[in-house]
Symmetry: C2
Subunit: 147 residues, 2 copies
């Protein structure tokens, strides 16, 4: 990316990096290194980062989930048998970033994709509630307790 | 689906079927028969329906694109080499329906998915503009003229 040139992707990065207290990320596939670096940077800054991802896709070649785990970020993988097909982030429990874009290189550089960014509470709240529900449901401790 | 029981899917159908003048649909994969029936019904009612879809995915098993074409609905396939990964609809140039959901049976019945429905002009207008751009770019007549 050329320096000083604003693109859709640089705007997306800007909104992600604007997180000061928390970033809740729920994404099907995460292999984009620029986005991975941004998430690790937030974590290093002290922002509470929680990542929820699809179990099967977290293991594909190029997946950044291992990088996030090594950085100490809290990651939970969807334990259900169905696809976790969401691709959204909630910044500071206030700003919703959602759309068709998986956090992959192909999606960012190749495909035609869309991202909606909004602070409208009626739109943001259901995503906050769904993230919390999925986060609790996929707590590994629930599974260990049942063994 | 049980009669009289409101589900996320019945609400989605309700919003699609609320179209009175136009439905612009831009969807990567379209194999869901309930959604196909809804779109054909709108067309039969006199609603102007335009469908933009990915060229490669329009030919997969179970694709409803052939059904829409036979019903007389105007369909354009993305001519570029990259994936048309959008999944949005604009109802009456006013209401935006967008999210992670492809118009497939698996997406509706199996996966964890989200749909945002909004009339907020700041969110709706970019989708209207992008639909119009993609519609013109993928006009088959442009290709025939260049041959």
């Amino acid at each position: 990316m050329a320096h000083g040139v604003e693109t859709s992707f640089s705007r997306l990065l800007h909104y992600i990096l604007s997180a000061s207290s928390s970033l809740d990320l729920c994404v099907f596939s995460f292999s984009n290194m620029d986005l991975s670096r941004a998430v690790v940077l937030l974590h290093e800054r002290g922002t509470t980062v929680r990542v929820l991802t699809d179990r099967d896709y977290s293991a594909i070649t190029g997946s950044q989930i291992g990088v996030l785990l090594k950085a100490g970020i809290c990651v939970r993988r969807d334990m259900s048998s169905v696809l976790m097909h969401h691709k959204f982030a909630v910044v500071d429990s206030r700003l919703l970033i959602t759309g068709s874009l998986n956090w992959t290189l192909t999606a960012v550089q190749g495909n035609m994709e869309n991202i909606v960014i909004t602070e409208e509470p009626d739109l943001v709240q259901p995503f906050i509630a769904e993230f919390q529900r999925l986060w609790v449901v996929n707590d590994p401790a629930r599974f260990y307790q049942n063994q």
